[in-house]
């Protein structure tokens, strides 16, 4: 489904590369976790894959279902079924969640020659998704993320994911800032959305999230590269020994630069 090959990227207009040759393959039905210390390039990876204009890809490519999407605009990537749950969801005052989602849903439907939903049909559809994240009805008529608590913002991202039903979702530190109850709700939601046709890439700092959403693969990112991949045991190892220990081990083995 997703294939990232030797991806190099930097902030446009600057010299220093943040991604320095990322390789990653994600298939339908898989859940991946990317872990790594602050500043390793995890969030940048999710932004570059979803087409943030601030970044410039200087080398490598991003293939999505075989199509090179490296040069596509963010909205075009969304039409293909790519979704990013933001680490810091953005406030848009004056526009309700419902309005945004109806626009988004129908724009994506149009782009894929699928039938659009009229406001009444959409109302039924969106209401049916509220349960996934234990959301109250009134949530729909509030302005996008405006005045939301940190937890509500994160929940809202997963709610949007449920409504837009993407093929591939990047969850950028969705667990950060959540208390344990909210973490459970959000994780439950993600687990309900996950199926054998879609795929999820979680970006997280902590192993905690992985207790609730079980990944098939865990990757460790450091200095702009995925330096080690494995199963859930890799995350447990990191939790026990920290990133420093892994780095030392890799240096000893001559695997890190």
């Amino acid at each position: 489904m997703l294939e990232i090959k030797n991806l190099h990227a930097k902030v446009e207009g600057e010299d220093i590369h943040i991604l320095k040759g990322v390789n990653l393959k994600v298939n339908a039905g898989e859940i991946h976790a990317i872990m790594g210390p602050n500043g390793s390039g995890k969030s940048t990876l999710s932004k570059v894959v979803s087409g943030h204009p601030e970044y410039e890809v200087t080398e490598g490519e991003i293939l999505f279902n075989g199509e090179d999407i490296t040069e596509l605009d963010a909205d075009e990537r969304a039409h293909l079924g790519l979704f990013l749950a933001f680490q810091y969801p953005v406030e848009v005052p004056g526009i309700t969640n419902k309005t945004l989602l109806r626009e988004a849903y129908n724009t994506i439907a149009r782009a894929n020659d699928r039938e659009e939903l009229d406001p009444i049909e959409f109302e039924d559809y969106i209401e049916s998704k509220l349960d996934i994240i234990n959301m109250k009805d009134e949530f729909l008529s509030r302005s996008i993320n405006t005045g939301f608590s940190g937890g509500e913002k994160k929940k809202n991202e997963i709610f949007q994911m449920a409504v837009l039903n993407p093929v591939l979702s990047f969850l950028d530190e969705t667990d950060s800032g959540l208390d344990i109850d909210a973490l459970k709700v959000v994780s439950d939601g993600v687990n309900k959305i996950a199926n054998d046709k879609n795929a999820i890439v979680m970006i997280t700092h902590y192993q905690r999230l992985l207790n609730y959403i079980k990944p098939d693969f865990v990757h460790v990112m450091m200095a702009g590269k995925l330096i080690k991949s494995g199963g859930i045991e890799l995350a447990e190892d990191l939790e026990a020994n920290g990133y420093d220990a892994l780095e030392k081990e890799l240096v000893l083995n001559g695997e890190a630069q």
Binding site: P53, E54, R77, A78, V92, T99, E103, L164
Partner: protein, 485 residues
């Protein structure tokens, strides 16, 4: 955001600086006065308009008052002062003496209004809006007069009102904005050429929206119109004002005076869409929009509401205000001011609480782009006797790009302890992150931008009457839509 403007923001800038669509001129024959101002010009103006002596005296007195006054400089804008000696104070299309129907209006002028999307012909008009069209100095046509007259509503040009309803004009003209109130109100009082007069009798709800469209066509003419609206006890009216002008390299002065009087339980809603020519991207040309607007809630339980969408003019200095004299009266000010290119706007309101339990609400939204400068200036004054009064103010600014400015100058004073004043202000930048967030959800760049702007101004635009809201949205789109897509 990186040092260079991101694509998204650049796009937004170009959308916002969309070419001015109303910049054409109309070829009509004019009856002009010589340029410049003097007592003789003022007298001549009054004579040409066949005004009674009391009006001539009013003007001459105002002229001498103005002569002694200094041009103000306290606002947050810099510009070349208008050249009062090089200005036309009367410029009227040569016309037939009486206009009995649309057929008598100069076809060129009719075409102008059609181009502007303002149909003057009654059968084509929006079902429930009466229009007074002011072309340069003169009211061209007022529609739906008979229907209004049945309800006892007077809606006519100011020139006509001076002749036909002298008692009302004598009683109310300059009763809210004294001649000497400020430099431009004094000048307007001396040389105002026309405008609209509207009178709603006791316990009458005006049966339709009233509307005036102002058009400056002649290059050197200033436009000095005068509007007076009086709502008697229990009366209510909604009034709409729209403005456009051709593009000239010279600056033109628009110095209007608008007075509103609301008696007991009366309700006046005044809405403006101001889209005068704003000048080019180098700041050349454009209208100086120096307008004095003030309403008085004279009676108890009266209500005055100003709503404005200000998108045009090179320089705007304008503070539609409400004097809350009657107990329990309510004043409101809802404003969206958009500045682009080198436009400068210093606009806001004054709410003067004199009566008990008076309430005022101020919602101001400023959007600045390009190298423009957008200031909110507002005064809330609660006097000693205005016990139990309340004010709530919100002033939000949105910046687009790196070179524009937004400023807020709130002046608040409360002289009694039983009143409350609340003031909130925010400044935000339409940034990459907002646009990216919406685009990530599948929405196009253009729609994302339009969503952000619409969300920002929503609280104000919802105050516009329906007929006008459609137009306001269109105008915002013209300003905001561009080359994308």
């Amino acid at each position: 955001m990186s040092e260079e403007l991101s694509d998204g923001v650049k796009e937004l800038e170009s959308m916002i600086s969309e070419e001015y669509k109303y910049g054409f001129t109309t070829d009509v024959e004019y009856e002009d006065f010589p340029k410049g101002i003097s007592e003789e010009i003022v007298r001549e103006l009054s004579r040409v308009k066949e005004e009674p002596k009391w009006m001539t005296d009013f003007r001459v007195k105002a002229y001498h008052a103005w002569k002694e006054m200094e041009e103000p400089t306290w606002f947050n804008a810099t510009y070349n002062k208008p050249d009062f000696e090089n200005m036309l104070y009367y410029s009227a299309p040569k016309k037939k003496p009486q206009l009995d129907s649309m057929d008598d209006v100069d076809p060129n002028i009719r075409e102008t209004y059609e181009k502007l999307g303002i149909p003057l012909e009654e059968q084509k008009m929006l079902s429930n809006v009466a229009v007074d069209a002011v072309f340069d100095s003169v009211s061209i046509f007022t529609s739906f007069k008979e229907k209004l007259a049945e309800a006892g509503v007077i809606f006519c040009s100011m020139s006509e009102a001076i002749k036909e309803h002298p008692e009302l004009i004598k009683k109310y003209l300059a009763s809210v904005i004294p001649v000497r109130d400020n430099f431009y109100s004094a000048l307007n009082s001396a040389v105002f050429s026309d405008g609209s007069f509207c009178y709603i009798p006791k316990n009458t709800k005006c049966p339709m929206e009233l509307s005036t469209y102002f058009r400056i066509n002649n290059m050197n003419s200033g436009q000095f119109e005068r509007t007076l609206i009086v709502a008697e006890e229990g009366a209510s009216v909604s009034y709409l004002e729209g403005c456009t002008a051709p593009m000239y390299d010279e600056n033109q002065l628009h110095a209007a005076v608008v007075e509103l009087v609301a008696l007991d339980d009366a309700d006046i809603k005044y809405s403006t869409i101001q889209n005068w020519y704003a000048g080019d991207e180098n700041g050349k040309g454009g209208i100086y929009n120096f307008v004095t607007k003030r309403g008085i809630c004279k009676g108890k339980n009266s209500h005055i509401s100003w709503t404005q969408l200000e998108t045009g003019s090179a320089v705007t200095l304008k503070y539609p205000s409400v004097i809350l004299q009657g107990d329990n009266s309510v004043g409101e000010f809802y404003s969206v001011a958009v500045t682009t290119k080198k436009q400068q706007a210093d606009t806001g309101t004054k709410m003067i609480h004199l009566g008990k339990n008076t309430k005022s609400t101020i919602i101001s939204k400023g959007i600045s782009a390009g190298q423009s400068n957008n200031s909110y200036r507002g005064e809330v004054k609660i006097s000693k006797n205005a016990t139990g009064s309340k004010n709530y103010s919100v002033c939000d600014s949105m910046l687009i790009g790196q070179e524009c400015g937004a400023h807020t100058f709130p002046y608040i004073s409360s002289e009694n302890s039983s009143s409350s004043v609340e003031h909130e202000a925010t400044t935000s930048r339409v940034g990459e992150e907002q646009i990216f967030y919406l685009m990530q959800r599948g929405i196009s760049e253009q729609d994302a931008i339009s969503m952000i702007i619409n969300g920002f101004v929503k609280d104000v635009l919802k105050e516009l009457p329906l007929e006008f809201a459609v137009e306001a949205n269109k105008l915002l789109d013209v300003k905001l839509e561009g080359s994308v897509g």
